[in-house]
């Protein structure tokens, strides 16, 4: 835009600005009341752009910037607090304005003032387009307002059938798990096949009164238990433990001739 102005027409631009400013000031005064009604600076710019009464594609961004800055100025004099993004936009538009009015600095990089202005125009046009689209959308025939769904829907009965599956491996692992677990867990039936220390003690206490002589500890095993290796092992251990207990109580004595020789016990004399 700037480049298309011949140097001689600068005055024209200024006067145009002045006109715009006056108009803008008036518009700004009207808008300022409604400052809370704007959805941000872009919305405000869009509203301001309508005063130009031109297609958004041919809008004068420069004039728009003037209008916006006038608006901010007005708000300031009225001590209206504006959100920061309005002020950021104002600063940016002031920058844009200078870019558009001043000859380009060849040392400066980045987009030209025209590029920036074009993009702003694009943004405004796009926002306006989305607003129009939104209005058209909301104006369509709408469910629950213009057309209606079945008022008496019949629920679809969800019949859920669950099937279960397992593999042979699952089965085998399951079985293995149980059988392995056995080793660490006493079966209730295991209890039938062991002699506990308490049981051995109960059994020995009444018997040792008769053991004045050395007798083989194995003779204190319950009847029949010595025939079954499992039972014998349990009964022997329990009876031996019981005999140690009785020795500790001082009621009997133990002896063993040599390693693996039979263990013998005898009532301790003087014990009644």
């Amino acid at each position: 835009m700037r480049r298309s102005f011949p140097v001689g027409s600068m005055g024209e631009v200024v006067s145009l600005n002045t006109v715009a400013s006056v108009e803008a000031r008036r518009a700004a005064e009207a808008l300022i009341v409604d400052v809370d009604g704007f959805e941000g600076p872009l919305d405000l710019l869009l509203t301001l752009s309508r005063t130009q009464k031109v297609d958004l594609r041919t809008i004068s961004v420069l004039a728009l910037a003037e209008q916006y800055l006038a608006f901010i100025e007005e708000a300031r004099t009225l001590r209206i607090e504006l959100a920061a993004d309005y002020l950021v936009m104002a600063a940016w538009l002031a920058f844009l304005k200078s870019r558009l009015l001043l000859p380009p600095d060849p040392a400066e990089e980045g987009p030209s003032g025209e590029d920036l202005a074009a993009h702003l125009a694009f943004q405004l046009e796009r926002l306006q387009a989305m607003r129009d689209a939104a209005a058209r959308l909301m104006g369509r025939d709408r469910k629950g307002r213009d057309f209606f769904v079945r008022g008496l829907p019949e629920g679809v009965a969800r019949v859920k059938r669950v099937t279960y599956t397992a593999t042979l491996l699952d089965l085998m692992q399951g079985y293995a798990r149980i059988r392995t677990r056995d080793e660490f867990r006493p079966f209730s039936m295991d209890r039938d096949r062991i002699l506990t220390l308490e049981q051995a003690l109960d059994r020995m206490r009444p018997l040792i009164g008769f053991a004045g002589d050395w007798t083989d500890l194995m003779s204190y095993l319950p009847d029949g238990w010595e025939d079954d290796p499992g039972l014998r092992r349990s009964a022997t251990a329990a009876t031996f433990a019981a005999s140690l207990e009785l020795a500790k109580e001082g009621r009997i004595e133990l002896r063993q001739a040599e390693t693996y020789a039979p263990i013998q016990i005898r009532r301790k004399d003087g014990d009644g």
Binding site: L152, K160, R161, A166
Partner: protein
Amino acid sequence: MAEPGEDSLFEAPPMGEQERMVEAILFASAEPVTVAELNARMPHGADAAEALVHLRKRYDGRGVHLVKVGDAWALRTAPDLGFLMQKETVETRKLSRAAIETLAIVAYHQPVTRAEIEEIRGVSVSRGTVDQLLELEWIKFGRRKMTPGRPVTYVVTDEFLDHFGLESARDLPGLKELRAAGLLDSRPPMGNLPAGEAEDDDDGPPPDDQGEMFDE
């Protein structure tokens, strides 16, 4: 018939149009609608009763019927298509651990009573677990045990054999094979082999249980 004369300013809509209206109202309404209400909702001069006659004919034999409910009208799906209103979803789930173990015990020890299953598993077996296996038709009732109380026993079914690809329960891998497959390799601290087949008979279930099953 539309009260003639009362409001001839507006002409009643053509019958085809009235039929559409009745159709739309009945479709969208959550409840059956009476003729009086239809007339009240339709433009002046409309004759819902007549429109209903046309509509009923139109839906004759369709997937939806116009039916009278008390003195009101409703559109309902045709009764013969009721089967479409069901959606069956099949969900395959993995059998629970409890069920697998119970099933394994039945397979290896059959015929086995519930008390025996509990003894072997070391925990009580819930009714649901047994029921589930019965329902799956993987186990069934066997003959009663000749012990006090004559408890029922469970045995595996042909369905079971089929599912697990076994020709008979005898094909189930024995404990030796389980061990060889590394499934029984967790050695107990005492060095006792778990429930070996009679190589050490001081633990586990009486070995003849096993025998009864596979030896007969």
